[in-house]
C-alpha cells in the first residue's frame, strides 16, 4: 500500500559524504573509488581495525561541540533559505544516532560537557538553534529507514496542504558507540563489504553521511511516488527467510512502476542473507531492472542512507550515468546485479529502497516530474 495522495516533488536535494557533495560522490562512485579505510573500532581506545568512511579530517572520537557540526553547517549553506521551522514550513530531522557519541565520551571520560548533545531532542534543539530554524522541527528515528520516514511525513504534510514546503534533514556520524555496537554484532569486522556478492561470510562498512531534501507540492524536477513501508517484526536484526517482507514493501512501488522501465538502488550493506533476499525480491518486483548498491564504497550511513543515496540517485539521473555496485566484484547474487556503471537515459525512473533492524523496509519511486 502506498499513499494515495498525489505525488510530491523533490525541489532541492543534496548530500555530504567523505567524497564531498552529491556530484563529487557520484563521480567517485563512477570511478569505483572506495571511501572506507581501516580504523580502530573504538577510536583512541583501539580495538580491531574495521572499514569506516569518515569525513576528511574527522576523528571517530567525540569532541565538544561535535566535529560533525561543521559538515552540517556546510550542508545548511546548500539548503535554500526559507524560514524553516515556522508554521507551514516544517522540518523533519531524521537519523539513528544523533549525538549518541557524546554519551559514550561522557561515560568514558566523565566530562559533563559531552552531555550537551547526547539525547535526540537536545541534539536537535542545539542544531535547530545553530542553523537558525524555527521551533517546528520533528525528530524521526527508525534505524536505517529513518530518512524514508522523514520523506514520508514531509510528503504527507505537503500533500495535506499543511506545509507549503517541508525540509527533511538526515544525518548520522560515526562514533565508538555505533562502531562498537555493530562490531559486537560481528557484522562489522576486518573484512570490507562486498554488496550482492556470493561468499561465505558477509560484512558491512560504516560511513559518515548527511543529506537534505526540500519536499514541495508545487515546484521540483523530481516526483516522489509510491512511498511504501513495511515492518516484518520477525526478529530484532534479521529478515524473514522467505523474503516476504521485501515483497510486501515493494508491491506498492511495483504497481506504480508498471509499464515503466526502472533501475533499482538497493540497500546492499554487504550482509549475505539480506543481500540475497533483496536481489531476489527486486527481480520479482521489477523484472529486468539492474540493481546497484553503493555501500561498498560509502559504507552504511545508517539512518541517513536513504536520503544520501537519493541525492546520488538524482545526480545519476541528472548526469545520465548510474554508478555500479562498488566492492561487489566477483560472482553476484543475481543476474540483475549491475557491477559496472551504465547509461540511464533509457529508463523512466529509479526505485530507491532501504531496510533496517526489525525487518523494516521502505522504498519509493523517483521519476522526472
Amino acid at each position: 500500500m502506498a499513499d494515495s495522495s498525489s505525488p510530491v516533488k523533490v525541489a532541492e536535494c543534496g548530500c555530504i559524504t567523505p567524497f564531498g557533495d552529491a556530484a563529487a560522490t557520484h563521480a567517485a562512485l563512477l570511478r569505483g573509488a572506495c571511501a572506507l579505510r581501516p580504523v580502530a573500532v573504538l577510536g583512541r581506545e583501539g580495538g580491531q581495525a574495521v572499514p569506516l568512511a569518515l569525513l576528511p579530517g574527522r576523528s571517530l572520537d567525540e569532541t565538544v561541540p561535535p566535529d560533525w557540526l561543521g559538515a552540517l553547517r556546510g550542508l545548511r549553506r546548500a539548503i535554500p533559505d526559507g524560514d524553516w521551522g515556522s508554521p507551514g514550513r516544517p522540518v523533519f530531522v531524521t537519523g539513528s544516532n544523533f549525538g549518541v557519541g557524546g554519551l559514550y565520551a561522557l561515560r568514558r571520560t566523565g566530562d559533563p560537557a559531552f552531555a550537551a548533545w547526547g539525547a535526540p531532542a537536545t541534539c536537535t534543539e542545539r542544531l535547530r538553534a545553530d542553523l537558525g530554524w524555527g521551533p517546528d522541527v520533528s525528530i524521526v528515528s527508525h534505524a536505517c529507514v529513518s530518512a524514508h520516514l522523514g520523506l514520508l511525513l514531509a510528503s504527507r504534510a505537503a500533500s495535506a496542504g499543511l506545509a507549503e514546503e517541508a525540509l527533511v534533514l538526515s544525518f548520522d556520524f560515526l562514533s565508538p558507540f555505533v562502531a562498537g555496537g555493530f562490531h559486537a554484532l560481528k557484522i562489522l569486522n576486518a573484512s570490507f563489504p562486498a554488496p550482492y556478492r556470493l561468499g561465505e561470510a558477509g560484512a558491512i562498512g560504516l560511513g559518515d553521511g548527511a543529506a537534505f531534501a526540500v519536499i514541495s507540492r508545487g515546484r521540483g524536477a523530481w516526483a516522489l511516488e509510491a512511498q511504501c513501508v513495511y515492518n516484518e517484526m520477525h526478529q530484532f536484526t534479521a529478515n524473514r527467510g522467505d523474503g516476504s517482507g521485501f515483497d510486501r514493501c515493494l508491491d506498492g512501488v511495483a504497481a506504480a512502476a508498471r509499464g515503466r522501465r526502472v533501475w533499482f538502488k538497493g540497500h546492499g550493506t554487504g550482509t549475505l542473507d539480506a543481500g540475497r533476499l533483496e536481489v531476489a525480491a527486486a527481480a520479482r518486483a521489477f523484472p529486468g531492472a539492474p540493481v546497484v548498491g553503493w555501500k561498498g564504497s560509502l559504507g552504511h550511513t545508517l539512518g541517513s542512507c536513504g536520503l544520501v543515496e537519493l541525492a546520488v540517485a538524482i545526480e545519476s539521473v541528472r548526469s545520465g550515468r548510474t554508478p555500479g555496485t562498488v566492492g561487489g566484484a566477483g560472482a553476484p547474487m543475481g543476474e540483475n546485479v549491475a557491477l559496472e556503471s551504465f547509461g540511464n537515459a533509457g529508463f523512466d525512473g529509479v526505485v530507491c529502497a532501504s531496510n533496517a533492524f526489525g525487518g523494516a523496509h521502505a522504498a519509493f519511486l523517483l521519476c522526472h516530474a
Binding site: P87, A119, P120, V140, S141, L149, L185, H234, R248, A360
Partner: protein, 217 residues
C-alpha cells in the same frame, strides 16, 4: 483541520515502581519467558499497546524522548566489550518491537518519533496525517539512573496507547483535533500523557500557529 476519534485508551502511571516490580506486575501479560530481556519501557508500552490488539493494517506511531534509558546505560557500561544484546535493545523503537516481535505481528506503518517541547504536536500531526483506518498512538518513558543525573533520561516512568479512527462510531471515548490558529504554546510528552491519563479536556496552542482540542465523551 485534522481530526481523529479516540476509540480505546490504555495508560500506565506506576509512580516509583522499581523495574523488577514492573516486570513482576506485567509478566503475565506476555508469553512465558518473554519478559526476561524486556526493558521497563518495553513492558509498559507493550502492555498498553497489546490492550489495543494491534493488527497488520494499523499504523503505529510511537513516541518517546529517551527510549530505553536503562538498556542504553547498560550498553555504555559494557564497553570496552560492548554487549550485542544491549546494543539491539537500546535502539530507539525497541519498546514496540519487543511486543510485536514477540507476537510475530507485522505492521505496515511504524513511525517512531522522538521530541522535546513540541512533542505532543509532532506525534499527533504524524498520527492524524496517516491514511491508515486505525492509528495506534503509543509511547512513554522509563526512569533512567546515571543518565538522569545529566538530564539525558526521564525522571518519570509512564506509558500510553490510544486507538484513533477517522469515524466516531457509537463508542468513541473522545476526539482530538489539530488546526492552524494564531497563538503560541508548548506541550511535551509528559503533559500529553497526563491529559490522557486524567481524560482531561484541553483546548489551546501546542505549537506556534497550531491549536489542539481534546474532548471526552
Amino acid at each position: 483541520m485534522l481530526e481523529r476519534h479516540i476509540q480505546a485508551l490504555c495508560t500506565d502511571d506506576p509512580g516509583d515502581e522499581a523495574p523488577a516490580a514492573a516486570r513482576e506486575r506485567l509478566k503475565g501479560r506476555f508469553p512465558p519467558g518473554a519478559t526476561r530481556r524486556m526493558t521497563t519501557l518495553g513492558l509498559l508500552v507493550g502492555n498498553a499497546l497489546a490492550e489495543l490488539e494491534p493488527g497488520p493494517e494499523d499504523a503505529v506511531v510511537y513516541a518517546t524522548g529517551y527510549a530505553e534509558s536503562r538498556a542504553l546505560e547498560g550498553f555504555l557500561d559494557s564497553f570496552p566489550a560492548p554487549s550485542p544484546t544491549l546494543f539491539q535493545t537500546s535502539i530507539h523503537p525497541s519498546a514496540v518491537q519487543q511486543l510485536m516481535i514477540g507476537r510475530q505481528s507485522p505492521v505496515r506503518e511504524f513511525l517512531p518519533l522522538s521530541g522535546g517541547a513540541l512533542f505532543a504536536f509532532h506525534m499527533l500531526r504524524a498520527a492524524l496525517l496517516s491514511p491508515a483506518p486505525r492509528v495506534l498512538l503509543c509511547g512513554g518513558e522509563e526512569r533512567g539512573s546515571w543518565l538522569l543525573g545529566h538530564g539525558l533520561a526521564s525522571a518519570r516512568t509512564f506509558a500510553f496507547a490510544a486507538a484513533l479512527t477517522a469515524q466516531a462510531g457509537p463508542r468513541a471515548l473522545g476526539r482530538v483535533r489539530l488546526a492552524r490558529a494564531p497563538g503560541d504554546g508548548r506541550l511535551g510528552i509528559e503533559a500529553w500523557f497526563d491529559i490522557l491519563r486524567g481524560r482531561a479536556p484541553f483546548a489551546g496552542a501546542v505549537a506556534p500557529g497550531w491549536r489542539m482540542e481534546v474532548a471526552w465523551s
